[in-house]
Amino acid sequence: MTVAVGDRIPEWVMPEVSAERMRTMAALLRDPNPLHWDRDAVAALPLGLGRRTINQGPLGLGYMVNMLHAWAGPGCIRKMVTRFPQVVLDGETVIARGEVTAVDNTGDLQLIECSIWLEHAERGILLEGEATVVRPGSHQPQAEP
C-alpha cells in the first residue's frame, strides 16, 4: 500500500448507534453517568437533545479506531488524540473518516500522521482529532538469498 499526504482513509460506518451497547459499555466501564443509559435524564438537560442517550466517549472514539484498523491493520495505532465538540446520540448513523497529513518513511517503520473525525450527515463533525499509525516501512532489511 502506497500512502501519500492527502490520501483519504476508507470510511467506516456505524449504521446505528445503539442504546443497548451504551448500557453494556456503562457496565464495563463502571460508569455511573445516567447520560449513557437514562433517556429521561438526557431529555431533562437544557441541551435540546430529546429522549436519546449519549454515547460514551470511548465508543465514538472506537469507531475511528475501527477505521484505522481496517485500513492499516490491528495494532497499528501509536497515538490518538480525540476531542469531543458534539455528543453522539443513540439511533444516529455516524461515519468515521480520515486523511493522511504526513508520512515518515525514514525508519524501518512507516509512520503516518492522520487527521481523523466522526461525522453525522446533518450535525457535521461530532468528534475530531489526530492519529499516528505505524506500518512496516519500505526500508525493511532484505532476507539473505
Binding site: 453494556t24 455511573p32 435524564a41 438537560l45 472514539l61 472506537g62 475501527n66 495494532g75
Partner: protein
C-alpha cells in the same frame, strides 16, 4: 432551577499532584469480546485488546473509578461532566489476559472563566506498563466540571 454551590478555586487547584494508589489490571477475554462488540468491531487477532480499553484500564488499574474522579472535582452531578479530550499513546498493543501495572495522578486542575460560563478543567494522567516496567501506553483524560451550566 436552584444553583449549585461552586467549590473554591483554591480547593480545585489543590487537586494537582493528587496520586491514585496504583495497582494492576488485566483485560479479561470476555471483557474484550464485549468491548469490541460495543464498538462494532470483530475481535482482533492474536489476543490484541481493542484500544478503547485504554479508557477504563488505567482508571481501574490505578485504583480509582469514574465515580471517584467525579467526586474529587466536586462534580455537581454525574450529568455535569463534559469531555475535552482523550490523549492516548500506545508503545505496544494492549493484550487480553496480561497483567498491567498502572500509575495515575491528577496532572492539573484549574478554574476557567469564560464570558458565559465557568468550569473546572481537570487533567488526569495514567501510565501503563508491564510487570517488568516496560512501558505499554499512556492516557491523558481531560474533563470539564461544569458549574451551573447543565
Amino acid at each position: 432551577m436552584a444553583r449549585h454551590p461552586v467549590p473554591a478555586a483554591a480547593d480545585i487547584e489543590a487537586l494537582a499532584g493528587h496520586r491514585f494508589p496504583g495497582g494492576t489490571y488485566r483485560i479479561a477475554h470476555w471483557e474484550n469480546v464485549l468491548l469490541s462488540g460495543c464498538t462494532g468491531a470483530d475481535l482482533l487477532p492474536d489476543g490484541i485488546a481493542h484500544p478503547s480499553a485504554l479508557f477504563h484500564l488505567p482508571i481501574a488499574g490505578s485504583g480509582t473509578s469514574i465515580a471517584e474522579m467525579f467526586a474529587l472535582g466536586q462534580a455537581e452531578s454525574d450529568l455535569s461532566i463534559m469531555i475535552e479530550s482523550y490523549d492516548w499513546e500506545f508503545f505496544q498493543p494492549l493484550r487480553e489476559e496480561t497483567d498491567y501495572r498502572v500509575e495515575g495522578k491528577i496532572h492539573s486542575a484549574e478554574r476557567i472563566q469564560e464570558q458565559d460560563r465557568e468550569y473546572d478543567r481537570i487533567q488526569f494522567c495514567f501510565a501503563v506498563s508491564l510487570a517488568s516496567g516496560e512501558p505499554v501506553a499512556r492516557s491523558v483524560v481531560t474533563w470539564h466540571y461544569t458549574r451551573n451550566t447543565l
